[in-house]
């Protein structure tokens, strides 16, 4: 039974890989495949899949479920990074959203709907704050979002009065623990947000504007693109994504923990986006790539759990992945590498493109 399902899994995965061999997403997918293959061969029980009470269980399902938070945040982070920025406050915003929802339900006695929309509203407010600082006041993104990163958790603790608020609202608990069609409900949320993000960016012109602004802000402005509004919206949307992720995080543990919710998640999200093929310098973005990146990171974490590596040591391999991916993206590193692999076949970069090409055109007019 298990052997059959494994074979089916690998057949589908290999088929997918082959179909996408020309795409940018191939490389993160391949890395994910190799990591899964390693587990399939060497990690006992990793590929076990069983059905309990009509729900699927197993490490691979865990990865989807546990990776949901990073996947949600990485969707927003993708857009922010595509504009050439970064949002460090997502973890703090998650903690705040969880705290707001829990407080509204437990302390103030509101129902799920109020709590849900209250939390999302606060998260959007945070996004708008970041967006305003970056787009309209011109503060560099790292610094602007640092403010909320520092203060956000404090505000979250203020909201939750410094307590871990436990809740039992069935709808709220369902968000992070429920199942739909045998699969974790968190997966539905991720797919829904992916669809929404895709609609927002690819069915409107926002995606084009974001890529244009991230790739060449001056030329975009000259073409009439409202670069400030586009940047603002990217941060606003990231607020929404962080809010959703915060609700899922709280729901997972049926409580709002302002100290630990979303801790370090900004780093995972940035990593997921970069692994997924979106460059930190901005420009083209890849939503599905970011999700694959998030899954890769979660698989790495789950692998280490499964192999009894302490959760505390887990950051080490993550760090090596960060540096490796950055080096792969770095122009300079590629140049060094090509110097070793090939002889100086590649010409040195054109030192002054602004001056040089005009000479080609020397017009010897008749």
């Amino acid at each position: 039974m298990n052997v059959l399902s494994d074979l089916l899994f690998w057949a589908v995965f290999a088929g997918g890989l082959f179909a996408l061999r020309q795409q940018r997403i191939f490389w993160p997918l391949l890395a994910l495949a190799l990591l899964l293959l390693f587990n399939n061969l060497f990690t006992p029980y990793f590929f076990n899949l069983e059905i309990r009470n009509g729900y699927l269980y197993g490490s691979r399902i865990d990865i989807l479920n546990q990776g949901a938070k990073v996947m949600l945040v990485s969707l927003g982070m993708t857009l922010v990074i595509a504009t050439g920025g970064v949002d460090l406050s997502v973890g703090a915003v998650m903690a705040l959203a969880g705290a707001v929802a829990a407080r509204l339900m437990v302390v103030d006695g509101h129902g799920f709907t109020t709590a849900f929309f209250g939390a999302i509203f606060v998260a959007l407010l945070c996004g708008a704050w970041n967006g305003a600082l970056v787009a309209y006041l011109g503060i560099q993104p790292i610094i602007a979002t640092l403010i909320l990163m520092v203060a956000g958790r404090g505000i979250a603790q203020l909201v939750s009065d410094g307590q871990i608020i436990n809740f039992a609202d069935p709808t709220m608990v369902f968000l992070g623990n429920g199942h739909l069609l045998g699969l974790p409900f968190t997966l539905t949320i991720v797919l829904a947000l992916l669809a929404a993000t895709w609609m927002l960016t690819r069915r409107t012109a926002l995606g084009l504007f974001i890529e244009a602004v991230g790739d060449n802000p001056t030329a975009s402005r000259y073409s009439g693109v409202n670069a400030r509004l586009v940047t603002f919206l990217a941060y606003l949307f990231t607020g929404l994504c962080s809010g959703l992720a915060g609700l899922v995080a709280a729901s997972n543990i049926k409580s709002a923990d302002a100290n630990h919710a979303g801790l370090y998640l900004e780093l995972d999200a940035i990593l997921a986006v970069v692994v997924g093929g979106t460059a930190l310098t901005g420009g083209r973005f890849y939503l599905v790539g970011s999700l694959v990146g998030a899954l890769l990171i979660q698989t790495l974490t789950t692998t280490m759990y499964a192999r009894n590596v302490s959760a505390d040591i887990a950051p080490m391999p993550k760090a090596l992945v960060i540096i490796a991916v950055c080096l792969l993206q770095s122009e300079k590193a590629r140049r060094y590498l090509s110097r070793f692999t090939r002889r100086p076949a590649t010409p040195p970069a054109l030192p002054s493109p602004a001056v040089a090409p005009s000479v080609i055109a020397s017009p010897a007019q008749p």
Binding site: T204, E211, A212, S223, A361
Partner: protein, 515 residues
């Protein structure tokens, strides 16, 4: 030949992939002279200077300083040899004090600890050589650009420079500041320094330099004594003409004879200017008319275009579209008024390099419609196909990234981007720069056909023959001022060149050498 010249460059060669930027250039600078290095865009001036200051390594040829063969590998090595440079943009550290900026990297110290008193004294001495007294402990950025330029000069001289290179140091100075600088240059000349002076202002060349070397398209055109080279001839050499040839060409261009279709101007500006960028001027463009802007680099051509398009804001005058006064604060406002603008620097201000041809073409139209009304993919494809065909863009397909195209094809895509918005006024800033001859001809043909379709066109080019060939009216700019306007049969290369080359009365009065 008893004593070698200060600097002797023979047959200097420098190539970049696909381009021979310097082709056997000779250049000689004597002790105690100010030597102008002249040439239009792409002439090779900056490549020559960078080869001299160790930013680039040369491919061939020889350079000798005081008879010794030199080959500096970095600005620092060049400085050690006695070659110092002051750049157009002040290349100093804005947040540090004047004293530090002069001494940075060579501060007097004892046991590894800096001697601040000595640093300040040394800086004051260096400035005194320029007849300048400043509070050297003040932050550099608190001084005007002119003073910062002087500080840069003081730094350059602080290392026993033998050869001083001034790379367009005057572009952001006003007349009095330029006069101050010239006083200093003359003083340094008497001290025996060789000074290489790069500028776009002819008046300055004639008021301060002793000799002139002209480069064009990476080649050495000639070396002249300033007093023996008339202005008209200098301009002719820079743009690659013989004066006799120019005089013969004094006939009105065929196409220009056609009068404009409409009488009322589409665009009209009056007393329109911006401090430090362009003196107030009047200008109008009618539908069905090409107005050429002629002038040397730095004469204010691009600045006018940027003001009209809202990239910079005008601080005087009014702008009227179809007779209505409007305010244009940014390119979005200009787009709303159906104005289009292709900028001079395609790479920085034009292309979105990592997006496809299709996306680059739809961008401005999409921006004018706003983010929510997305242009459907079918319409995008149709637009892309239409302009690729109409403009003859050579590409395997519309999904090709624009950065992979040649310069001429990139330019055509950018023209397509703006034509897609159906503009009424098209501002073209050097649309033919840096593209091959075939593409140039196509773009000129396009300009003519757009004019016939009733577009108003403002055409900027440093190729005078293009301006003459394509314009119905020509506005001539010199030193950031409008100095004249020619219409119809008055338009000729010679007439334009004479206006460009004419000395400015007042600046000559201020700046004429006392010798």
């Amino acid at each position: 030949m008893a004593e070698p010249q200060l600097l002797e460059i023979r047959g200097l060669e420098k190539s970049f992939p696909g381009v021979r930027a310097l082709q056997g250039v000779d250049f000689t600078v004597r002790r105690g002279e100010v030597h102008a290095l002249m040439g239009e865009n792409g002439a090779g001036k900056s490549t020559l200077i960078k080869a001299l200051t160790g930013v680039y390594d040369r491919d061939g040829g020889d350079s000798r300083l005081d008879g010794q063969s030199i080959r500096p590998g970095s600005p620092r090595e060049a400085e050690a040899l006695g070659i110092s440079t002051v750049y157009q943009e002040v290349n100093l550290i804005p947040h540090l004090s004047v004293a530090e900026n002069i001494c940075l990297g060579r501060q007097p110290s004892a046991f590894g600890f800096l001697k601040w008193g000595a640093i300040h004294r040394r800086a004051e001495r260096a400035l005194a050589r320029l007849d300048l007294t400043l509070d050297v402990s003040r932050q550099l950025s608190s001084f005007s650009i002119a003073i910062q330029q002087m500080v840069a000069l003081a730094r350059a001289l602080d290392v026993d420079a033998k050869l001083l290179i001034l790379d367009e140091p005057t572009s952001s100075l006003d007349e009095n500041e330029v006069a101050e600088l010239f006083k200093v240059m003359r003083k340094l000349r008497t001290e025996g320094l060789g000074i290489v002076f790069v500028t776009h202002f002819l008046d300055q060349v004639y008021s301060v330099t002793d000799r002139i070397t002209v480069l064009r398209n990476g080649k050495h055109v000639g070396e002249y004594a300033t007093t023996e080279l008339p202005r008209l001839e200098l301009v002719a050499r820079m743009i690659g003409k013989d004066v006799s040839e120019v005089e013969k060409m004094n006939h009105p261009p065929a196409d220009a004879a056609a009068p404009p279709a409409a009488a009322a101007p589409f665009l009209e500006v009056a007393n329109f200017g911006r401090k430090g960028s362009i003196y107030p001027l009047d200008l109008s463009v009618k539908p069905g008319e090409v107005v050429g802007l002629a002038g040397l680099l730095g004469s204010g051509r691009t600045e006018i275009a940027r003001l009209i398009f809202g990239v910079d804001r005008a601080d005087s005058g009014v702008l009227k579209i179809d007779g209505q006064t409007v305010t244009i604060n940014n390119p979005r406002d200009a787009l709303k008024q159906r104005i289009a603008f292709t900028a001079e620097d395609r790479k920085v201000d034009g292309i979105i390099p990592n997006l496809s041809i299709r996306e680059n073409i739809v961008l401005a139209l999409q921006a004018s419609r706003g983010p929510w009304a997305r242009i459907g993919r079918a319409e995008q494809n149709a637009l892309a196909d239409r302009f690729i065909k109409a403009l003859g863009v050579k590409t395997p397909g519309p999904e090709q990234l624009i950065k992979n195209l040649s310069g001429g094809n990139q330019q055509k895509v950018l023209l397509g981007r703006w034509l897609a918005t159906e503009p009424k006024l098209f501002i073209l800033d050097e649309p033919t720069r840096g593209i091959d001859v075939g593409a140039k001809a196509e773009i000129e043909k396009l300009i003519a056909s757009l004019r016939k379709q009733g577009l108003a066109i403002l055409f900027i080019s440093s190729e005078l023959e293009e301006v003459v060939r394509d314009s119905q009216r020509v506005i001539i700019l010199r030193d950031r001022r409008k100095v004249g306007e020619l219409a119809a049969e008055q338009i000729s290369e010679q007439a334009i060149m004479q206006m460009i080359a004419a000395p400015t009365g007042e600046s000559q009065a201020v700046l004429h050498p006392s010798s």
